[in-house]
Amino acid sequence: MKKRQLRWMKLDNAAKLYPAAKRRDWSNIFRLSVTLDEEIRPPLLQAALDSVIPRFPSIAVRVRRAMFWYYLEEIPRAPVVIPDHSYPLTHMPFDDILQCAFRVLYYKNRIAVEFFHAIADGNSGIIFLKTLAAEYLRLSSHIEIPCTQGVFDITEPPREEELADDFPKFSGRVKKSRSEETSFQLKGTPEENSFRNLLIAEIDAGEVLALARSHGATLTEFMVAVMISSFLELQEERVPESRRRPVKVLVPVNLRRLFPSVTLRNFVLYCMPGVDPQLGKYELDEIIKETHYQMSLDISAKKMASRIYANVKMEQMKVVRILPLFIKNFFMKLVYDLTGEKKSCITMSNLGVVKVPDEMEPHIERFGFTLGVQHTSPNNCGMISYGGKLYIEMIRSIKEPVLEQKFLLKLRDMGLHIKVESNYSHDQEVNSE
C-alpha cells in the first residue's frame, strides 16, 4: 500500500517565537477542557480522537527542525490519550513536542487538550475540543450532533483557508510598533517540582456583565482593570514609592474578529493596557476608564494591521531568512528573555462565550481554559464563559495566592457571588501572606 504523504507547513508568524523561547523546563502551552455529564471512557475517547485528527492537519502535528526554520509536520496517527496529572499543564518537553505538539487527557468526566502554542491559539483550540467532544458524545451516547457552532464535520476534508498563515495576508503597509516599559513583576516562593496551583472562580456571567456595563466597560476591560488595581495594591505593599513600575496586563486579541479569517493557525496579537503609579494614585473607576480607552484605541483593524506588518517584515528580511536556525534561535531567545515576559505583569485571556449545538448542551457541564505560566512571571489568567457562568482560571507557579486573594476579594466587595475550586487545598497548607 502506498504510504500517505504527510502534509507539512511553515510556522505562522506568531508561532515562530515559541520553539525558540522554550527552555529545558518550560515551554509555552495552554489547556482547554470540557466537562461532560458522564465519566470518560478512554477507549471511546481514543476512537474519537483517531477520527477527529485528519480534519485538523494544522493541529495534529509535530514540530520539526529544518536548516533555517522550524516547521510543522502532520502526525500519521493520533497520540495515546492519557490520564490527567495532579496539576494542569505539566511540563511538555521539547523532545515530546518533536513527536506530537499536543496531548489529550482525561479525568472523571473531563476531557482536556493541552496545546503547544505554536500550533494553535485558543480560538482554534476550542474548535478542536468541541469537535472532539461532539465525536465522543456520538460514540458514547449515540446522539446526532449537527456540525454547527464551531463543531466541524470530520467527514469533510480540511479547507486550505483553515491552514493558511493569515498574518501576511492582512498585514498593513506601514510599521507601527511602540516600545513598552518594563512592568512590575510579582515574586513569591516557587513551588517544588514545578507544581502548578490552579484556582477556578465561578461567577454568574450576567452579573459580571451588568457590573462591567454599569462602569461603562466590556467584561474583559472590567476584569483587566480589576486585575491592574490588584497589582497596584500588591506593588504598593512591596515596593517603595520611588521604585514602583507601571502595571500592565497583556490581553490577547482575536484577530478573526477584526479580519475575515477562518484560519485554525495562530491569529492573535495583543494589547497591553496599564497605568503608571508614578503619575499618582489611581482609583478603580479611573483604572476602568483608562483600560477602556486604551483597549478601544488599540483594538482596531488598521492598528493591528500595522503591527502585523512590523512582525511580518522582520520575518521576511532576507538576512534573517538565510541565518541558520541555531543562530536565529539564539537571538530570538535573547530578545524574548530580555523583553518578552517583563513588559506585562500577567496575561489575561478571555476566550469569550462558548456556544455548542443544542443537542450537545445537556451533556456538557462546563468548559475550562488555562494558560500556562510564563517562565519568569508566576501568574496567568484565562477566562471562558459557558452556560451563563464565567470561569476565571488563575494558575500560579508560586506558593502564595496573594494575587488571587486581591483580585477575587475585590470582585466579592463589588457584590459578586464567587464560588472557588482549586487543585491545592485538599491536603496541604495554603501559604497566604
Binding site: S86, P401, K419, V420, S425, V430, S432
Partner: protein, 232 residues
Amino acid sequence: MYCIKCGVELADSEDRCPLCGTTVYHPDIEKPNAEPLFPDNPPEPHYTVTRWGGLFILTSLFLLGLTMPLICDLSMNGGVTWSGVVMGAIGLAYVITVLPFWFKSPNPVVFVPIDFAACGLFLFYLNLCTGGNWFLKFALPTVGMVCVITTAVITLCRYLRRGYLFIFGGATILSGISVLVMEWLLNQTFGLHNKLVWSIYPFAAAILIGLLLLIIAVSPKLRASLQKKFFV
C-alpha cells in the same frame, strides 16, 4: 459551604479556602464528599540527561584518564612506572566523587570509610613504589585516626540528629589530639625532632574551640544569648 474569612463559596471538594487557607468546618453541616479537581497523579520527573547516563559519561571519562597515561608509559618506558601513580590518583578521585552516585541513596557512614580505605591503599602503593617504610609507621595510623574521627562525627550526626555542639566539640578536641599524635609519628618515622614543635599550636586552638563548643552545649542561657547576637 462558605469561607468565614473571605466570604466566597467553596466547592465541595475543598478542605480549606484556597484563598486564605481557613479550614472548612460547620458544626451542623456535614461536608459532602466530592471528587477533587485533579487526581493524585504527579507527572514523571523529566530528565534530559538521566542519572545513569551522566554516570556512564563520567565513568567513561575516568576510564579514558586511566588508559591514556598507561598507554603513554608503556610506549615510552615499556612498563608501568609513573603511570601507576597517575592511575591510582584517578582511581582514588573516582571512588570519592563518582562511586557513591551509582547507588540511589548513598549512605555516607558506609562511603566515608570506603574513601579512607581507598586513600590508604593509594598511600600503600606509593610506599611500595618509592621503596619507603613509612606506610605502617605513619600513613596507616594517620589515615586510620582521621577516618575514625570523621566516621564517628558523620554517624552521630546522621543517626542522633541532635547534640551537634557536643559532637563537633568532641571531634574538635580529638582532632587537636590527633595533630599531636601525627607530629609524634612524623618524628618517630622520619627522625625530624625529639620533641613536639608545631603541633602544639593547632592542638591548643582545637582544645580551646572544642571546650568553647562544649560549654555552649551545656549552657542554655549562653546558647540563647549567642543566638540573639548572631542569628542570620
